[in-house]
């Protein structure tokens, strides 16, 4: 068992990552000066891999994702430090013109709000065709045909008719399909999906999730799947990154995270899952809300950012910030007292 694991890890280390983010720091201006909302975030994504980025709402997931393509509103947002190496080049240092060639082409994004993410005054066909016009240089007619093909791919019924419709004529799930079609036009090597199902009806959620996975298999894109719900990625992601208050607090493979969470916050997230997924086999299906809320980034507790909610808090936690401690390239935890890996995860 250990041997196999070693081998896999060896392989991972050999692969050149598709995206490598290092020391990313992002601040937002406020009346009382800049507030850091993403603090020293670093991770990697290998080609074709699905990585889950998890954390409660407000933990900095969207800002992290948007920063990768310099899409945060600026002002008030500023990327104050960090690198984001994609296919050998730093996206954050790249001139705008080159970055634009990557956006929507090599790296695409799907957003949380399908209701507002499409232009209300443009037919959805035109909005998809726009991507082909831009990145492929298609003629108007070609772009229309290609857009129609994409609509068929994402399984929109009556695509010829739907092409000419406006977003307001469509349901949320349908619009998210349009967003997915738009994102996949140019066969991106990386797809960033920022809570693509959060705003949808529960019944539609799994449909959209399945579609993304199906599309990924067809297009072979790597996916950064952002969610506040660990359950969403339990079945799909290979690795998981857990964020809290603008920092990465734990990383690991899905198995490691679900079977032996090391950070009390990850553990709390797991406890709050309605169905404990893989943990169900331990015979415990309790539902526990995490008490308290994500701290305001302008007013973080001293020491560990989780210290005001952590059940295991000790004195040292309240004045010394724990460092991100890497066990190996894919496993790390930011805690003075990581939960012992061989216990059942509830210290």
């Amino acid at each position: 068992m250990n041997e196999i694991k070693e081998n896999i890890l060896g392989d991972i280390e050999k692969v050149e990552p598709l995206l490598k983010v290092d020391g990313l720091c992002v601040s937002f201006d406020s009346p009382n000066g800049p507030v850091p909302v993403v603090r020293d975030v670093g991770f990697y994504i290998n080609p074709g891999e699905i990585v889950g980025l998890v954390g409660e709402s407000g933990s900095g997931k969207s800002v992290t994702a948007l920063s990768l393509l310099s899409l945060i509103p600026s002002p008030p947002g500023h990327i104050t430090a960090g690198r984001s190496i994609f296919e050998g080049n730093d996206l954050l240092k790249m001139p705008n013109k080159r970055l634009r060639k990557i956006r929507g082409n090599r790296i695409s994004m799907i957003f949380q709000e399908p209701m507002t993410s499409l232009n209300p005054l443009m037919s959805v066909g035109d909005q998809i065709a726009e991507v082909f016009r831009l990145h492929v240089g298609s003629s108007k007619v070609e772009a229309k045909e290609l857009a129609l093909k994409m609509l068929k791919k994402v399984q929109i019924p009556a695509p010829e008719k739907r092409m000419k419709e406006f977003p307001f004529q469509m349901s949320g799930g349908m619009r998210q399909r349009i967003m997915i079609a738009m994102a996949l036009c140019c066969n991106p090597t990386l797809l960033i999906a920022d809570e693509p199902t959060t705003a949808l009806d529960v019944t539609i959620q799994s449909e959209i999730m399945d579609l993304i996975i199906e599309m990924r298999q067809e297009f072979g894109s790597a996916v950064l799947m952002i969610t506040h719900d660990l359950g969403v990625i339990a079945e799909t992601a290979e690795r998981i990154i857990v964020m809290y208050a603008g920092q990465i607090v734990e990383t690991g493979s899905v198995n490691e995270i679900f079977d032996a969470p090391a950070h009390p916050y990850t553990n709390a997230l797991l406890q709050s899952l309605p169905v404990l997924g893989r943990r169900a086999r331990f015979g415990r299906q309790r539902l526990q809300e995490i008490t308290g809320t994500v701290p305001d980034p302008a007013d973080l507790p001293a020491g560990c950012a989780f210290s005001n909610r952590c059940p295991n808090v000790q004195d040292i936690c309240k004045d010394t910030s724990p460092l991100l401690n890497e066990t190996n390239i894919q496993r790390s935890v930011r805690c003075h007292f990581p939960l012992t890996l061989n216990s059942d995860g509830e210290a």
């Binding site: 899409l71 634009r100 956006r103 209300p120």
Partner: protein, 309 residues
Amino acid sequence: MHRFILKRLLQFIPTVIGVTLIIFLLLNLVPGNAALSSAGRLELDPEVVAQLRKDFELDKPVIVRYVNYLGRLAQGDMGKSMLRRYDVSEVVFGRLGATLKLACAALAIALIVGIPIGFISALKQGTWLDIGLAVVSVAGVSIPQFWLGILLMYVFSYMFNILPTSGYGGGAFSNLILPALTLGVGYAALLARITRAAVIEVLAADYVRTARAKGLSALAINLRHVMRNSFVLILTTSALLFGSLMGQTVVVERVFSWPGVGSLLVESIFQRDIPVAQGCLLLIIMVFLIVNLVVDILYRVINPRIDFK
């Protein structure tokens, strides 16, 4: 769509009747009118005065007069001037051309100057340019029109003597410039503020972020995604503006002796020539209502989100 237009047209009728009622009461409940005061001055025979009273129905209760007025109005008869006995509708409609010309010229200035300034301010939000334009706009909005009119007149007609002081000049373009500027500046400034707010709102929209994530250039985003969406917002507000623009023509026409409905209105009110004043007011308000109707329909044409039910 057709049903919507029909419905709006049907709503138009009670609105117009309401307007006539308000105008009628306003002008007829205020004491004094031309027919009797001129009679008093000229010390006319009681017989003649009685005839005047009869001609203008001054011997009847207000409500009867209103109903009769409405009946005549339905046939296109706005009555006769109390002073000169001319046909009101003929004269008032004859003046409409000059007023519309002035209002449209002012609106054109407002659109051509105000919208680009608003766009630039929004795109350069928070810079010195934006702040500078804001100061200019606030000044533009708050300048009283009669003062601006006289200032322009002083500079361009008196100091440099390049433009006529006042009057219609038989419809010459040079006569239009100063009054149109006077009327247009305030609206340009107002429109700049409205445009700026609309564009800033649109720029923060999620679909603009989507457009950026697609890899579009700033120019393409502004042209294809920002402009049209902000025009929907701008259009509704500028339609409301046109109403007050029509009202303001009264002041500007007076300053520049512009022979429009507005100056006729002021004259007729001073002279208590009630049928003429009624005709002028009704016409100005009708133009406002019709513009609103057209904008309402236009708004639905460019904005597919609204149901036509």
